[in-house]
């Protein structure tokens, strides 16, 4: 059975059936697509920017990953164990937490 949900640290990877409309291509950085970047540490969750892998974003900056290669691609991070992502379309999210002092909901960045 195809895996539906994956999580590496604070990055959420959720399989979806199709890409939403009106997406723009996100460019790779140093040969990788960055799914999330830690502001303080400079660490990042990345997948290689190889043929058959594309990263998209919508107007609000929400990310979508499309893996078309038959071979799974590796999701890497400096502190977390790697994971393999199968062929498919995924919504990429980030874990959120509450700042109880500001009463705001913010993305967690590890």
């Amino acid at each position: 059975m195809k895996q539906q949900q994956k999580q590496q640290g604070d990055v959420l990877i959720h399989r979806i059936k199709s890409l939403p409309s009106d997406l723009k291509n996100r460019s790779p950085k140093n040969g990788s697509f960055v799914l999330a970047e830690g502001e303080a540490t400079g660490h990042s969750h990345t997948v290689p920017a190889i043929e058959d892998v594309q990263l998209f974003e919508d107007e609000k900056g929400n990310l979508y990953l499309q893996v078309e290669s038959a071979k799974p691609v590796k999701l890497s991070h400096q502190e977390h164990n790697p994971q393999m992502i199968d062929k498919g379309i995924y919504e990429i999210g980030q874990v959120v937490e509450v700042d109880p002092f500001e009463e705001s909901i913010n993305k967690v960045q590890d």
């Binding site: 895996q3 999580q7 959420l12 959720h14 164990n81 999210g93 980030q94 937490e97 509450v98 109880p100």
Partner: protein, 339 residues
């Protein structure tokens, strides 16, 4: 009418920003000649008879001097000097410093300064006066001055000549022009510690003046001395509850670590599921009760905690809350793989 900035004008924004920060945090001693010239210019602008400029070592001395000299009318007849006044060493030093400067400028050479300052200290001690704010904030106002300087110097916007006074003021510490024509100017910082653009020092004062005035700051928040200088493991959660300022409370948490604080504050377990626990803790006045999800980081084997919505009653609800950024998620968030 300017519709768009040129690339060079855009580049200059960062340059002016940096210059503003550099001036605001400068620890270079005040140029005495420039300070006197400025004092005279300021009195002219205020249409006051200029008498003298006194340069003191910091805000505390500026405050003492201002309260003291504010009592002297410009035409007052001054008494001869008194002796054996009971003044502390640092105030005696200040009096000598002020006396020397007044003598150099041929003003109030027979002023009973010791008595004047002693009276001021008594007034302060009896709480009959509180801190007097400066007329001009000097170097700490440089962010504002450099903002306007950019428009003038780069975009060619013309201001009234009075802007020059503000522009000059950033070369000094606090500035108090008194009605009797005395201008008190304090020195700039003696030391300043920062992390990026924020005042920050984890071992001692983040800023200090030559007169001994100092303050403590963490991540740009002014905090009490004990919060900086008490080791994290010796911080007492009782102190946390007593902190009135919410920003300071945040710094307490940052220093102690939320995981330790939540436990020390006597968190109540609401739900448990495997390695996960949902805890409720009282974060004190104005903030109230919040819920934290305690979990294990499977890659590094360390416990950590994150605050979740107040309406989360189970571990699963808290996990779903954390994944609520996913628009496509309709069911529970239960990843098959978690690293």
């Amino acid at each position: 009418m300017i519709d768009e900035l040129t690339p060079d004008q855009e580049k200059q924004l960062a340059v002016f920003c940096e210059k503003g920060i550099e001036t605001g945090l400068s620890t270079k001693p005040v140029n005495k000649t420039a300070a006197k010239k400025f004092g005279k210019k300021l009195c002219d602008f205020l249409k006051r008879p200029y008498k003298a400029t006194i340069i003191v070592d910091g805000p505390y001395h500026a405050f003492l001097s201002t309260v003291s000299f504010a009592q002297i009318a410009s035409d007052v007849k001054l008494k001869p000097r008194s002796k054996n006044q009971d003044l502390k060493e640092d105030v005696k030093k200040l009096v000598q410093q002020v006396e020397k400067q007044l003598a150099e400028q041929n003003v109030f050479d027979d002023c009973d300064l010791e008595k004047l300052f002693q009276n001021t200290i008594a007034t302060i001690k009896s709480k009959k006066t509180s801190y007097v704010y400066p007329y001009l904030e000097g170097q700490v106002f440089s962010y504002y001055v450099y903002f306007y300087k950019y428009f003038r110097d780069v975009l060619g916007i013309k201001y009234e000549a009075d802007f020059e006074l503000l522009e000059d003021s950033v070369n000094f510490g606090l500035i108090y022009p008194l009605e009797n024509g005395i201008v008190i100017i304090s020195e700039r910082w003696k030391t300043i510690e920062r992390k990026g653009t924020q005042l920050h020092c984890e071992t001692g004062p983040a800023w200090e003046y030559k007169d001994g005035s100092k303050g403590w700051s963490l991540n740009g928040i002014v905090v009490p001395q004990w919060l900086v200088e008490t080791p994290a493991e010796k911080l007492d959660p009782k102190q946390f509850s007593e902190i009135e300022n919410v920003e300071v409370r945040k710094e307490f948490i940052r220093k102690m670590g939320v995981e330790i604080l939540v436990h020390k504050l006597g968190a109540k377990e609401i739900d448990k599921q495997g390695d996960y626990s949902l805890l409720e803790v009282d974060l004190g006045k104005q903030v109230g009760n919040w819920r934290y999800l305690k979990m294990m980081n499977p890659s590094i084997g360390a416990w950590h905690m994150e605050c979740v919505g107040r309406d989360c009653n189970t571990v699963q609800e808290a996990i779903n809350f954390r994944a609520s950024m996913l628009k496509s998620l309709k069911n529970d968030w239960k990843p098959e793989e978690l690293t």
